[in-house]
């Protein structure tokens, strides 16, 4: 469990995505791992800079899709062949082409729900409280027009004074200490 008191990390504020990416890339090269960037819109380069590559949302989506397909197709088959067989003009009970449409819809339904809820779960949301919201400049800028780099105290390289000096070399607008 991470500590719930003391310093969460140091937050550097930048004006442009370019400055953020350069700082993040440098910090990652210098061995920082417990860090994150905060941007008002998706900045792919920043995610690459901090070494975020694996993304399990597509896998969850595929599993959901296959489950939806299997669930509906087997339900249709079971209902039409075993539970409630209807003889309409001597047509076959296992009339699989007619079962495609609902199975197709459920594939999409389950895949979509898995992608959306999988994304939310992998992001550990809902997280209504987060230490970063305590930073004075975070809430006014993070989802508007500022770009943030946070070095977290859990990183073994973290030292309040040294890390602050390190961040200042990137010429941010400000570096603030974030408390839990």
């Amino acid at each position: 469990m991470p500590p719930r008191e003391g310093t969460y990390g140091l937050l550097a504020e930048f004006d442009t995505p370019g400055d953020l990416i350069r700082a993040a890339r440098q910090a990652h090269q210098d061995g920082w791992r417990r860090m994150d960037c905060y941007t008002p819109y998706p900045v792919e380069e920043a995610a690459e800079a901090i070494g975020f590559h694996t993304n399990r949302v597509p896998l969850l989506c595929l599993i959901g899709a296959l489950m939806g397909l299997a669930a509906m197709f087997s339900l249709e088959t079971w209902v039409s062949v075993i539970a409630y067989p209807l003889n309409i003009g001597g047509r076959p009970l296992y009339s699989w082409p007619a079962f495609i449409v609902p199975a197709y819809e459920w594939t999409i339904l389950w895949a979509g729900l898995s992608a959306a809820f999988g994304m939310i779960a992998l992001n550990h949301m809902p997280t209504l409280y987060h230490p970063l919201f305590n930073a004075p400049n975070f809430r006014s800028g993070a989802l508007v027009d500022k770009f943030f780099l946070c070095l977290e105290a859990l990183d073994p390289k973290f030292d309040l004074a040294e890390s602050r000096k390190y961040l200042e070399t990137f010429e941010p607008n400000s570096v603030v200490e974030v408390e839990y």
Partner: protein
């Protein structure tokens, strides 16, 4: 504006082409992250709701009340209050169902298909087009339920283990509809909500009132803009777009099966699926224009929803309008080429029978007027013209469904079974009522939710360009 053939000497050139990069602009120049955020958050977070909003809300609410009255009377008296009888057993309810679902399809096209095609101009209009989809599906989904006559038994359509051990018939297109429409509604809501999560985060951070902070705080799920979250979010959005694309095509296809699978002349045709989908997008874009034009004026969003958007939507309407025209042409051709005298009579009667006026209204509204005028760039960028055109096309598409349903049914195979169709006041009240319900939901959406996706607009701004390092003074 059609930007591709603008010359640098053209006075409009500077407005639509970025001189620094030579790229075409989607929104007006001069916008920054802050100005866009301010503009959109102010609409929602202002404590002063404009009086005009209340006026429209009252009017739309009155319409929704009419729906409530009509549906209450329907539940008390039964579907006999509508004009449906033999041989026209499907009337306004199914016409409206198909029309509303079709309108919804443009929202998904804008939010999903144009996203996959990287059409950045969609960013400004995608959110409210998606909202339009959901509210249109709400209106559409109601019709089959109230049309069944015994709405309290609506759950029989679902495969549930009842004590009577009866199961639905999975070989019927009407049963497929249940799954197509319910999946469409669910996925549209999820896509819409996921798209709004980051904007709710902005609202939470900017809300002044405690209630606003709590409300947007909870529905933002604590979004804080971490790039790790953004990457998963982007993947999920793309996946949802990729899933919504085949979904939207399947929904109107399945709805067209309701007709095409029947052996009735006028319904039994293989052109229906593509022609229904194209018609859906045609009417849907018309509805987006009907909503966008007053909205951008009322909330002064001309810089974000520009003439270029209106122009592009006009072009999409022109293209889909021609697909629809091909559908009409092919129906007429097949009536002759099939050498089936039932088909030929049906088509002759559709054009020149007692209900022929509805066919010619449809031809005028869907083909004659739009497909001759939308070629002109001058007319496509004329806002009042496009507003009128959107109403015309919506009317035409409503008549298309009227023609398909009523004129195929009212002349049965033998003259002894012929009938007619004359809608009752309850039919009209239900239809006008859904227009009221749709507008009510839409004005509530505009007031309380972000109608333009701020996070997507930010990506289009010059500030989002990743530039090489500059000396600090110049950069500020």
């Amino acid at each position: 504006m059609a930007t591709s053939n603008l010359k640098p000497t053209d006075p409009e050139y500077k407005r639509w082409v970025d001189p620094a990069t030579g790229e075409y602009r989607v929104i007006e120049p001069g916008q920054t992250f802050k100005s866009v955020t301010d503009k959109i958050t102010r609409i929602v977070l202002t404590p002063h709701t404009p009086m005009g909003w209340f006026a429209i809300f009252a009017l739309a609410g009155a319409g929704a009340t009419v729906l409530l009255v009509a549906v209450t009377w329907l539940f008390l008296k039964g579907v006999g209050i509508w004009a449906i009888t033999q041989p026209v057993a499907w009337g306004f309810a199914i016409i409206n169902f198909v029309w509303w679902i079709g309108i919804g399809h443009a929202g998904t096209l804008i939010s999903a298909i144009l996203l996959l095609f990287k059409q950045q101009w969609r960013n400004s209009i995608s959110r409210f087009a998606e909202a339009m989809t959901i509210f249109a599906v709400v209106c559409a989904g109601m019709f089959p339920l109230i049309h069944v006559g015994r709405p309290w038994l609506g759950y029989w359509m679902l495969p549930l283990p009842y004590t009577m051990t009866v199961w639905p018939q999975f070989r019927s297109p009407l049963e497929w509809d249940v799954f197509a429409v319910s999946t469409y509604a669910t996925i549209s809501v999820v896509f819409w909500y996921v798209g709004m999560i980051p904007d709710f985060g902005t609202f939470r951070d900017r809300a002044k009132s405690k209630a606003g902070q709590y409300f947007y705080g909870i529905i933002s799920l604590g979004w804080r803009g971490s790039v790790r979250h953004w990457m998963r979010y982007e993947t999920a959005s793309l996946l949802l777009a990729g899933l919504a694309t085949p979904l939207v095509l399947s929904v109107h296809t399945v709805i067209s099966f309701d007709f095409a699978v029947a052996i009735l002349p006028g319904w039994h045709t293989t052109i229906f699926p593509p022609y229904f989908v194209a018609g859906a997008i045609y009417s849907g874009f018309a509805m987006v224009l009907t909503l966008a034009i007053p909205l951008r004026k009322f909330y002064h969003l001309e810089a974000l929803v520009t003439e270029r958007h209106i122009d592009n939507m006009g072009k999409v309407m022109l293209a889909t309008g021609f697909i629809v025209a091909y559908g009409y042409g092919m129906e007429a051709f097949m009536a002759w080429y099939s050498a089936s005298h039932w088909e030929a009579f049906m088509f002759w009667n559709r054009m020149f029978g007692p209900m022929g006026w509805s066919y010619w209204t449809l031809i005028a509204c869907n083909l004659a007027i739009p497909l001759t005028t939308l070629w002109s760039r001058k007319l496509r960028t004329s806002i009042p013209f496009m507003f009128v055109m959107s109403i015309i096309v919506n009317t035409g598409m409503w008549f298309e469904r009227f023609v398909i349903i009523v004129t195929s049914l009212y002349r049965d195979f033998l003259p002894s079974a012929w009938g007619t169709y004359r809608a009752t006041k309850w039919d009209y009240m239900t239809f006008l009522g859904t227009l009221g319900l749709f507008t009510t939901l839409f004005v509530l959406f505009v007031r309380f939710l972000p109608m333009i996706p701020m996070n997507e607009i930010r990506m289009l701004l010059p500030g989002a360009k990743i530039l090489p390092k500059k000396p600090k003074e110049v950069g500020r």
